[in-house]
């Protein structure tokens, strides 16, 4: 997917805020991944930095040659209907622009060539930036063909830096830290184009353009090929339980050896003494043999050693009366 500019038929363009784009034409790097609609003679701007209704910096095609603003040479570069990177760098002052081209459709090698004539910086700073047209914004100045991505730097990148930035991955372009960068992969022209650098050079106006299915073979618009979600914690919160105790203990069992345990023993001894006083002894105090009551005399005695109980047994005595 890319954006199609129908230059020569309509005055298509997208206008952006300046953001951190270069204020003038030096030092500067302009890069665009483009596909011209036809390899014929026409005039069309890929991008332009504008101030006071004039182009301060720009990249354009005229009669199948590439130029930057105020370049009055015979032009530079190859011109085909393939997808290719067109990049131009220029140092500050009146210096030679340097053109860098790579055909990404055929996978050819990079070319790095100085332009024939020196070019001045122009008088900035720019107040707006336009893709697909220049300050005039006319049908005759509009780009003929597709644009996938554009970027600018406020420095003149070295040849190898250009090659590292302009690959088949938009993430490489972003990693090269341009001052302004846009990807034209929106599925609808109503979706505003935003500056991928976060520098604020976002779309402010649009005229025409259309979404086109064409895009460079192998090109990835993704700014990243992986994500790393941040781990998070889910707090556990608790209610406050209420414990209800019984109204009275069902039973109390005291531990042996405790003061309460000793009191239990004393109570048991008293009960046994009371029982013996009432009923008489149950066993012979000499040998432990159970006592047997003589049926005739009513006296308790031991059948083993002859011991007899001489005391009274109130309960028995009461029933014997």
């Amino acid at each position: 997917m890319s954006r199609l500019f129908n230059g020569g038929v309509s005055a298509d363009s997208i206008t952006f805020a300046v953001g951190n784009a270069p204020p003038d034409e030096g030092p500067i790097t302009m890069a665009a991944l483009v596909k011209p609609a036809t390899a014929t003679n026409w005039l069309g701007w890929v991008m332009a930095g504008i101030a006071g209704g004039a182009n301060i910096w720009s990249m354009l095609v005229f009669n199948q040659k590439w130029f930057i603003e105020r370049d009055f040479s015979a032009g530079s570069g190859p011109f085909t209907t393939d997808w290719y990177w067109a990049v131009v760098t220029k140092a500050s002052g009146s210096t030679l622009p340097r053109w860098h081209f790579k055909n990404v459709t055929t996978g050819g090698a990079w070319s790095h060539t100085d332009a024939a004539n020196t070019v001045t910086d122009g008088t900035g700073p720019i107040t707006s930036l336009r893709v697909g047209n220049d300050s005039a914004g006319s049908t005759g100045d509009a780009w003929h063909g597709n644009i996938a991505a554009c970027a600018t730097w406020t420095s003149a990148l070295a040849d190898l830096a250009v090659e590292a930035a302009c690959t088949l991955a938009a993430s490489d372009l972003a990693a090269a830290a341009p001052g302004w960068m846009v990807r034209l992969n929106q599925a609808n022209v109503a979706t505003p184009v935003t500056d991928d650098t976060g520098g604020g050079g976002d779309q402010t106006a649009i005229s025409g353009t259309s979404v086109d299915a064409a895009e460079p073979l192998g090109w990835s618009y993704a700014l990243a090929t992986s994500v790393s979600p941040t781990g998070f914690a889910v707090p556990v919160t608790f209610g406050s339980p209420t414990i209800v105790t019984p109204a009275a203990p069902v039973a109390t069992v005291h531990l042996t050896g405790s003061w309460n345990g000793l009191a239990d023993i004393a109570r048991l001894n008293a009960q046994e003494a009371e029982q013996e006083r009432r009923d008489g002894p149950r066993a012979c105090p000499d040998c432990g043999e159970p006592l047997v009551r003589n049926q005739r005399t009513g006296v308790l005695g031991c059948t083993f050693d002859g011991w007899t109980f001489s005391g009274s047994t109130p309960l028995f005595d009461a029933f014997s009366l």
């Binding site: 997917m1 991955a169 938009a170 990807r183 992969n185 929106q186 599925a187 979706t191 990835s220 618009y221 993704a222 700014l223 990243a224 090929t225 992986s226 994500v227 790393s228 979600p229 941040t230 781990g231 998070f232 914690a233 889910v234 707090p235 556990v236």
Partner: protein, 143 residues
């Protein structure tokens, strides 16, 4: 918003309707969706305008530690290039006992991840990696 657990996911984890180390848990990139804490099924997400763009295989190495930390091996999902922002959806793709994927109307949502490195993402075409956090909370931690 920050990464979050869906409300019914907490319920499902506690009642056994979601079983992280038995069921097939998957991650998917989703766009066009705004997190709703009460959503329960993947169909709730798609019904609210969410579009799934690339779903991983069942996560491997899924582990719940004694400290309540949930972790899994990093994974990938095959995405189609899109200029829209995508987040990551974590969901139980199968029945609670595992097996084949069930219908979206029965796939339990677990977590919505929209914060982290390169999130949200405008994915390209091809494999997009999801590398889970190696910090203390891993994917998420309960308690």
């Amino acid at each position: 918003m920050a990464n979050a657990l869906f409300g019914p996911a907490a319920q499902g984890l506690l009642t056994g309707e979601i079983d992280l180390d038995t069921a097939a848990i998957k991650a998917a990139f989703v766009r066009g969706y705004t997190f709703v804490a009460t959503h329960k099924f993947v169909s709730d997400v798609t019904g609210a305008g969410g579009v799934l763009n690339g779903t991983s295989a069942a996560l491997t190495g899924l582990n719940v530690s004694t400290a309540g930390v949930v972790d899994a091996d990093d994974t990938t999902a095959t995405t189609v290039a899109s200029a829209a922002n995508h987040s990551v959806l974590l969901f139980q793709a199968s029945a609670v006992t595992g097996g084949a994927d069930v219908a979206a109307g029965a796939q339990r949502l677990i977590a919505y991840l929209d914060s982290g490195t390169s999130l949200p993402i405008q994915p390209g075409s091809g494999a997009t990696a999801i590398n889970f956090d190696n910090g203390a909370n891993k994917i998420f931690k309960v308690g």
